[in-house]
Symmetry: D2
Subunit: 341 residues, 4 copies
Amino acid sequence: MGELLGVAVLGAGHMGADHIRRLDRVVSGARVAAVGDPDPARAKEAVAGVDGVSVHTETEAALDAPGVEAVLIASPGPAHEEALLAAFARGLPVLCEKPMVPESARALRVVEAEARLGRRLAQIGFMRRYDAEYLRLKSLLDSGRLGRPLMLHCVHRNVSSPPGFTSAMLVNSSVAHEIDAARWLLGQELTAVTALRPRPSGNAPEGLLDPQFVLFETGGGALVDVEVFVNCGFGYQVRCEAVCEAGSARIGEAHSMVVTAEGGAREEVPQDYLVRFADAYDREVQAWVDATRRGRVTGPSAWDGYAASAVAEAGVRALQSGGRTAVEFAPCPELYPQAAG
Amino acid sequence: MGELLGVAVLGAGHMGADHIRRLDRVVSGARVAAVGDPDPARAKEAVAGVDGVSVHTETEAALDAPGVEAVLIASPGPAHEEALLAAFARGLPVLCEKPMVPESARALRVVEAEARLGRRLAQIGFMRRYDAEYLRLKSLLDSGRLGRPLMLHCVHRNVSSPPGFTSAMLVNSSVAHEIDAARWLLGQELTAVTALRPRPSGNAPEGLLDPQFVLFETGGGALVDVEVFVNCGFGYQVRCEAVCEAGSARIGEAHSMVVTAEGGAREEVPQDYLVRFADAYDREVQAWVDATRRGRVTGPSAWDGYAASAVAEAGVRALQSGGRTAVEFAPCPELYPQAAG
Amino acid sequence: MGELLGVAVLGAGHMGADHIRRLDRVVSGARVAAVGDPDPARAKEAVAGVDGVSVHTETEAALDAPGVEAVLIASPGPAHEEALLAAFARGLPVLCEKPMVPESARALRVVEAEARLGRRLAQIGFMRRYDAEYLRLKSLLDSGRLGRPLMLHCVHRNVSSPPGFTSAMLVNSSVAHEIDAARWLLGQELTAVTALRPRPSGNAPEGLLDPQFVLFETGGGALVDVEVFVNCGFGYQVRCEAVCEAGSARIGEAHSMVVTAEGGAREEVPQDYLVRFADAYDREVQAWVDATRRGRVTGPSAWDGYAASAVAEAGVRALQSGGRTAVEFAPCPELYPQAAG
Amino acid sequence: MGELLGVAVLGAGHMGADHIRRLDRVVSGARVAAVGDPDPARAKEAVAGVDGVSVHTETEAALDAPGVEAVLIASPGPAHEEALLAAFARGLPVLCEKPMVPESARALRVVEAEARLGRRLAQIGFMRRYDAEYLRLKSLLDSGRLGRPLMLHCVHRNVSSPPGFTSAMLVNSSVAHEIDAARWLLGQELTAVTALRPRPSGNAPEGLLDPQFVLFETGGGALVDVEVFVNCGFGYQVRCEAVCEAGSARIGEAHSMVVTAEGGAREEVPQDYLVRFADAYDREVQAWVDATRRGRVTGPSAWDGYAASAVAEAGVRALQSGGRTAVEFAPCPELYPQAAG
């Protein structure tokens, strides 16, 4: 394919450092050309052993560094809007980690900016769309073999929540993944949401509503229910069952080795999303690099990033009110293909 | 154990004939002493090959027949109230198929009649309490090993609905099983219900709201969700996952033989509840016979029968209104141990 | 069906006591009429709570006791020959626990005695033929759906071996079950055997060759391999995979509840054959009672008992010699349908 | 990491073309610098869209082409010896597809040539060592958690055999993978082999002994049995169960999506080894590129390639003789760490 794609990575924290490693050593056809992070020590640590990379404390300097042809945004969410607009201003293709922008009103500004350009530059980091199991499920649903999807039953469990995790974050950070996955799998918009709050687990931090059970209605009349439980204790578990007119399909219970010992047959559950979705991240970045080198923009769009924010915000309101809450969307610019339902 | 228990079976239809066969040839310690059914030809056909059984067209005559020491009610639901009261009047122990009595107001009259006797005579036919998988789940939950139960995710699917099946019957006939199972597994009362209606499957008869998704709240703050889908097409499937503070347990996905052929590994799904719960019915009747011969009454009580009716009626109202509906219960007589929550 | 079948149970040890309980409280249509055991205290303990049963120290006295119409032999193996011949002399139908008779030469005498009677009286206790999983596998193989069976891969594991268990007993006591199951599943005779001895597990008692790997060739050119491991430590596990021309079918990995906790999804393994095959024992005895009450004899025959002994003896010789050993059979009396291969 | 590793690929057939694609678009840090294939049209087709690659009809020319720093041999087996020796002569690191060299006597010449160099240059393409499931099993066995391995039960099934596939090839081509996997998993040499030949499947081509059942003994007293069935019809299936002193571990039954429809729950079986082991091939080549760029040689060695040939040859003799055959090995040069057993 010729020359390696020069990428500026913004953010050298946990996620950014992982993407630097991935671009340098895992994906084919790319190289890290520049890294931008307000903390120069952290940036330098993240690029140890990487050749030909310049380090910057300012976003603009990183984007303007020699050899930069594309941008991967892995900085904290509040910094995304400015970074996206700066990339747009330079015509640089960009892969932006989720959430695209934390508030839907500001997410809409990004959508409008890209719409004004008249062409897509941004791919949003909903990596589940690149997971082998989700891809098989998507392919099966699209084949029509099982008829129309009627319901999705989803489970999203984490071992334990990080410090500072709030009840709203169960919806707008954790369930955000199911929001995008449901929109994508069904090809329908989520139009209303109800959030139920069972009595919290004794293992959840004081005051955290954990678990929650969130129900979405879709434009096509399907139902999506999500158990989100971020202090389940036993592992990281993401499951999805699509119930269709002629059958059901389940993912998220894959196993690779069964050990029979001590009175039982046991399969390990991964403990971390970076383990469960390691291949999905690799495929996501590879797909972005491949498309970018071909001058194309594919994958989840800025509109998908905005829509996920809008639905999640309605979900947080539903959690607070205890009632059913309709989701309100801005008009979708012509640049983006709208969901079917 | 000595003499065989003489049983009068009321109703010689599909279910009654199956119970006659079971009492005659499967369970130990009982014999069919009398059969009552308005249709004498049907009754005679059901007792072909059974020795020492008298056939009657009137309930009272069947109960008063020689050798009758206990009653198994398998007649249609509307006939149950009269039969139960007749058995109570004679002091006869009784096993009554579900629903105990179709309307909760009338079910309450049965409860009050038994309460006036001051001792239990009735066991209600919630056979899932005798299923090996449910018993393992119940035993695990009671052990406390997984902590407090937070949610039950339930699935109840039938191949296709019989003629005349109504949208309300998805709740008060199908989900009725989950209502009792949830009360029993959790040891908590169901206090409110919400019913969601996704767009019906194209395979459901015109006008039938199928599938439905019904949510119960419990007195102890747990959540019980039930997918009921009576025209799923592929099999009879009853699943239950109990999500607890320290882990989750799932039943209903048992398999006994995996066949790998034609590009896939396949496990058969039973097509019928009589197949799936064959052993549970056998155990239920054996347990009733054993207890009765020892002069005891165990298993689900008339109060459980009433409570299931009361919750199901609230469910039907919730289905019609589209909103959350609280369940109202009469005071529980002292005869019955009340649920914890 | 009329009167209960009066059964004399010979042997009131672990197995005999279990069968007494089964006849008294589980199966339909039978009662324990007499018990014979050299130890009267043990016999009395085993019949506590059973009505109308006489206790005897002599086999003949038990068989001649009032009400005895059939015999269940659960005494130690060396006592079987005499008990079978005594039952034959009285024309009593008999269910005889395995091994029918420990030595094939003496087993042949039982076969010849029954052949002289000109009608079958004996059913041998190979209970796997009544296990739901084995029955499904047998039914699939007989259907021809998967074509001709080419190989059976079998696993037979116990938690630990009882005191006094010898290397030969791995073949003639444990593998004896697979010998019968293979003959029955395939409808073919086992004609040669090779036994391999991997280096024993450190958890096996000193001097015990455990595990072993035993290979049988059949008259029809199929291969049957059996891992037998009686000190596997983790549970009682019996698996069988039939590899056929058009697919493979596996049994023995059934599960009924999956618990996800502490980093893994876990299914319990039964610890004991009485747990794993509890239903098979119940069905076996019920089938014997039902057939006997109808004046019929079904199930594994005395010839099957003899053949299992003959194959097992060849297996022990193969174990000792380290080489391939042909199995030699006496001519099969006309009374018995011979295996196909 | 700096400059891309320039690789010469020898052989532009099915496997070679796949490796060219992999080096160009999947793995990180490498580029295809030259391709050698006697058929220039085939070579050109394989490099369509790849920049900066020269095409050659002679092996030596390809190795001497500008930018070549390492060699990947994917030509037919008989051409491997010459290619390996040519790479050794130039001091080029090499990844050689299996079989390293078809005959063990010639394989030994490669081993000796590398031993004379005094340092390793060759990695042999036993890709199972890079499969995620095998790696988990290896890691578990090495941990000692389950005690000493006693037996490996292996299954190797293909949908159908290609034209010209012979009975010997079931051993020296198909089982060759299990030979290497067993040596690696156990860290023991295979010292004797017995091959059993059940009556062939009616779906196997006339004259092909398919399936076969091959048994290996190891230096440490373990047993390895392999069912090889190359016309199983239903899919490509590779399974391995390691039976250890304290438990058993199974791989090869992974699933990613369960579809319940039409009366059964079904998981697809891959149809092809390139699907089943796609990730393993990617990891293998990435590991080779990474090590080579660091100046290291890792993975299966030329000695492993020789040993697999020696064992497979004994297996073919065992198949022909019907008896147990000891494996004979040349002395292992000091360059290679010898297997434990």
